[in-house]
Amino acid sequence: MQDSMSADNGKPDGVLRGSSIIAEIKASRIEFVVSLPDITTSEGLLRPLSQSTIPRLIRVCKEDEGVGICAGLSYTERRSLLLIQQTGLLDSINAVRGVAVEYALPICMMVGLLQKKNPASRRRNRDAMACGSSSLFLMPWGSRITRSKRRPTWERSNRPSTMPMHKAGLWCC
């Protein structure tokens, strides 16, 4: 996973950093991050987010709770981000279907993918989430994290979106 931001801390160009993502989360006016810890995003994203007051971190016990919380927030015009791991996404499929998809709510999920060394295993993981590599970086509200080529389409979207992340893309964190 790459973006166009410059390197810092000696990390090479083109690597998406936790600090970059947090900057974009703030730039996207996300006020609440609803989360369960995920090993992929734990240090680079969740740890620093937990140490700041904006956005406010809401810790949940199970990921589908987070879908409901983000849904409620969406009606109040407050932006939120559901930061979870892939197993939590899969466990929450009924909530994603019933709440986010059926009601077409702008629920944004940032999903850490467990690192699998076996390419076939990685592919099965993505297939299970109906998430091919071509649809990886969806995010509503036009964050610069998204690939610029498709950004105009996403900016217009108020549909639920997922944003899986490879650990490899966060090794700077």
């Binding site: 589908d64 709770e65 409901g68 983000c70 009606y75 109040t76 909530a95 279907r97 709440v99 986010a100």
Partner: protein, 189 residues
Amino acid sequence: MMKRDECLKVLARHITGADIVLPVYSAAFDWIDIRPHPLNYLSHGAMGLASSHALGLALGRPDRRIIVLDGDGSLLMNLGSLVTIVAAAPRNLYHLVCQNGTYEANGGHPIPGRDLVDFCGFARSAGYPTVREFSDLKIFEQRIGGLLSEVGPVFVDLKISSSGPQERDYSRLHGPHVRKAFREALAAG
């Protein structure tokens, strides 16, 4: 034991035009007949999530009271939400559970442990600062107004029996017009 519709009629007298109410399943069908209002939040999408939707609303609109009328079977599906709610500490969230011991909307089968489960115990253990249980309608009538003026989160267990047969037209809960009306009413105020 209180009949659910009688209990909800009492509650309705304490609900203002600014309050948001989230009733689920059988309570929802009773509620929308007792108090039809655009600020009834009826589309929960997945069983058990009403309290989570309520927390989102409570965080997003701290200026309004958020009253969730949960079911016992529904809450059992999302017990962790009790802990999450207490941790988030919304001062405007009132979590009422209609405990009839059954999955009434799904054939009336008993919930697991129906004679053992202690919802107030769950709430106390999760850390709710205010926890009450009612099984007598007159006492509920005397106390509910005061409870709704306390600082939340507040947890109330209502020992109820069914209101009787219902016509369950789920489009009244999940239809897009319901959400549109809610969104517009909330945005207006």
